[in-house]
């Protein structure tokens, strides 16, 4: 991720250094994606928790948000 960021940078818009974004992106991003996985796909094709409770609880949201279901 060391490619040049400076080439596009405008003087008036300071960029946030990659080194500052990366830890947030890795830990925050992963947790947030896990949350989306629980809403969108848990107990469908794959399951981390046994049973069908999670699937049934978020059932309507899963359909309406466009995830494959059933």
């Amino acid at each position: 991720m060391a490619y040049s960021a400076a080439s596009q940078t405008d003087v008036s818009l300071p960029t946030i250094p990659l080194g500052e974004i990366l830890p947030w992106a890795i830990f925050g991003g992963l947790l947030l994606m896990l949350a989306i996985y629980f809403v969108g796909a848990e107990q469908g094709a794959t399951a981390l928790v046994k049973g069908m409770y999670v699937h049934e609880f978020v059932h309507d949201g899963r359909h309406l948000l466009g995830f494959p279901c059933h």
Binding site: Q8, G28, V58, G61, H63, H70
Partner: protein, 242 residues
């Protein structure tokens, strides 16, 4: 700075989620109820025993729907903020409000609209439980291809805009995305599991409601996040109050 933006992204996601839930409740739930009624009718005709309810319909259509939509929105709001933090100052000279609006538009097209043309949202009773693994795989693979195509197009746009100007540069970049997605759409296998006798009107209404939910979500994120970010970033030149 990233942390502050992330928190704001999640808060804006919460707001967007509440609005999207309102839309889903009013325009989406009636279609779900009708689709479930069809499903039960079909099951009855085949002489199947009624499905055991693990979670009642009341809970599914209120607390369940709220939890699903809001958790989804908060998470996407957070990821949106992370992408915004990276993109600020790196994709041309666009201030926070304009950047947030453009990123939200790009996210709506890339994550929802275009993948949805190939694998659209389906109401209950559409979809064979035996193919869920394959459908899930294809759905997320299509999302991945779309995101990669968008990253390629945005990178190209940055270079092309300097060389050919904003108008030509952005048109070529969008065309690049469209071509990649058209090829992907052509190559990916079609899925059609809509029962013969399922109401076409109901299917249409369900999909329009689904698209509407996403539109409410991304419009809110695009318009409100830029305003929230502007307050954190403290960029004098772009401040509306200066």
């Amino acid at each position: 700075m990233t942390g502050k933006l992330l928190v704001r992204g999640m808060l804006v996601g919460l707001l967007a989620g509440i609005l999207a839930f309102g839309f889903a409740k009013v325009f989406g739930e009636p279609q779900i109820d009708r689709a479930i009624a069809f499903e039960e009718q079909m099951a009855q005709m085949h002489g199947d025993a009624p499905e055991e309810e693990l979670v009642s319909r009341e809970v599914q259509s209120s607390l369940g729907l709220f939890t699903g939509v809001v958790v989804y929105s908060i998470s996407l709001g957070g990821i949106f903020a992370l992408v915004f933090a990276y993109a600020l100052g790196r994709v041309g000279n666009i201030g926070p409000r304009g950047l947030a609006a453009l990123l939200a538009l790009a996210a709506f097209v890339t994550l929802i609209l275009v993948p949805g043309l190939k694998y659209p949202a389906n109401p209950p009773s559409v979809g064979d439980p035996d193919t869920i693994a394959q459908r899930t795989r294809l759905f997320f693979l299509m999302l991945l291809v779309s995101v990669i195509a968008a990253v390629i197009a945005i990178n190209a746009a940055c270079k092309l805009m300097t060389a050919r100007g904003i108008w030509s540069g952005s048109i070529i970049a969008v065309a690049l995305y469209v071509v990649i997605m058209a090829i992907a759409g052509f190559l990916f296998p079609a899925i059609n599991e809509v029962p013969e006798t399922f109401s076409a009107v109901l299917l249409w209404k369900f999909r329009v409601a689904s698209l509407g939910i996403q539109l409410v979500l991304w419009t809110t994120v695009g318009l409100v996040f830029g305003w929230a970010a502007e307050r954190v970033l403290d960029l004098p030149r772009y401040s509306t109050r200066a």
